[in-house]
Amino acid sequence: MFKKILVANRGEIAVRIMRTCREMGIATIAVYSEADRSALHVQCADEAALLGPSEPGESYLNIDKIIAAALQAGAEAIHPGYGFLSENAQFASRCEEEGIIFIGPPASAIKLLGDKTRARAAMLASSVPVIPGMTQPEDDIEKLSSQAAAIGYPVLIKAAAGGGGKGMRVVSDPRDLQGAFTEATSEARRAFGEGAVYLEKFLDRPRHIEIQVLVDRFGQAVHLGERECSIQRRHQKIIEETPSPALDANLREAMGQAALNAVRAAGYVNAGTVEFLLDNEGKFYFLEVNTRLQVEHPITEMITAIDLVRQQIDIASGLPLAFKQEAIRFQGQAIECRIYAEDPETGFLPCPGKILFLKEPLGPGIRVDSGIYSGFTVPTAYDPILSKLIVHAADRPQAIERMRRALAEYVVLGIKTPIAFLREVVGSEAFRRGATHTRLIDESFNPWRPTAQMTDAACIAYAASQEMPRKYQMGDGVKTADHFPTPWETLGSWSL
């Protein structure tokens, strides 16, 4: 087993990886940029190495600097976390060349799965279902018509040259195909100077379901069930849960097997996630493989009691998987909410800044994977994720109430977060019914304004705090009393 690992990441995921390392008796090296000198992940490591300026290219994305830091500190392995270099095949092969173990799949698998066309071809060859569609443009309406029938309605007409919705038409009825084809072709010609179109199966408000897999170096592979990631804003996930309300045991097994076929087709090793779109008839289609630890991995850990980071490290160090598929049990329901520094009232624009006060929720079934603390200034240079709130309960209704309780206890002052927004989404009738899809936030919560029920209480709270004896008043996080108030003093304030 490794004695020392460099964690090539920042924020909550670096902290989370270091925690497992500590439990395994492995020393950790943090890397950081100038913007992250006082970041939490630097305080959680055994050693820390400054990479350079805040720009990712000069720090967290700089392969030479990270390799140099690893060699300097004598790290045997590098954990890339998610984002940054985690899906960079060049980085993985560079580690190999330098004799450092990359905790993730081999460079060849990253490369294959990163190329969407090659990945699609590999999946087709291994009978993993992909979104049905044409690979070549077609201008003959007769041929298009027979293609459409083969794919199955509704179909989507797409411009071969374009994007941004131009030259795109959804056709649900075969009788509308001719008209839509004419429109799409002329629109595409106007927009891109080329009218070529092709057909793809149209998925109406699909669910985004992903399967977690683990593969060891000896070809043993297991899946750890699904994660439902349909709730998104700006095409980015914000709430995830497992199990998905849309899956039964049969569909779970079918998707699990498809996911295992997908990673086997790519010569995959280590933890990975196979993403699928699921339509409302229970048909699923391969989307892509994420060749890294996912942001939302904790919900799988909660219901399986398997530490995915520990598994990643074990596999990378050459150990075989210690359990078989039959031994994996899914217990209860887990939900994750991502807490970003962003404003749900302005369409989720990021708003970094100083955290004036922080109090994280506690209690039964609560897990907070956090990269922040009171007084921390969230840098502008990176992804605005602050933390993830994960709850685990016996069933879905209890998990929903637990999440709402935890969100109501989550105090972040000084910067905008979607905490109140998330509480409303999780409590909504659609979420409770499990009727979630990728357009839910756009359709039902955009625009969004908080429903303030505590305004009057807030006014009284504020005014009353102003009338407290001056020495208990705090400004800007500075302790103005020269000592913490003793109970004698605080009790006294009841009658003042």
């Binding site: 002052l413 303030a452 009057d456 807030a458 009284i460 709270a461 304030s493």
Partner: protein
Amino acid sequence: MEYRLLVNHEEKKLTLSSSPDLKKTAFLEGISHQYELKSIGAQEYLLELDGRLIPFYLACEDAKTHLFIQGETFIIEDQAAARIIRRGSSDDLARMVTPPMPATVIRVLVSEGEQVERSQALMVLSAMKMETTLVAPYHGRVIKINAAPGAQVMPGEILVEIEPDEEDQHGAGTNL
């Protein structure tokens, strides 16, 4: 005491008063509420409002107070305090009597109504064991002193308001 607040940009007026039997009452939009307040930690409080216990948390930044109560976050601007605790542009700051850093007032050297000369010492502050003297930015008459010895003061707070003399009118409005 009367308060005029901007709560998430909505104007709210309320009055707090203590009756002789020490019952605390808040009057807000024609309704009176009984309340008690207990300070728990540096930024944590427990409000008892009409018999119900409600914890809340607050933090100040510039003239704004961020307040979290029962899962909701409010940004409160105190209109009465805004006159005093207001950030000026750097141009204004040169003409304001305001501390350069968070500090404690040690001595007040002038009194309200007093005529002061430019550069006359007005107040002595202490910050991180260093004493600083605030001086008058122009000739004028002291119309208000907003801090007493022992007070904790922040940059941007105008500690002494001075009405400039006739010949030093430039920028007269900036410190009021």
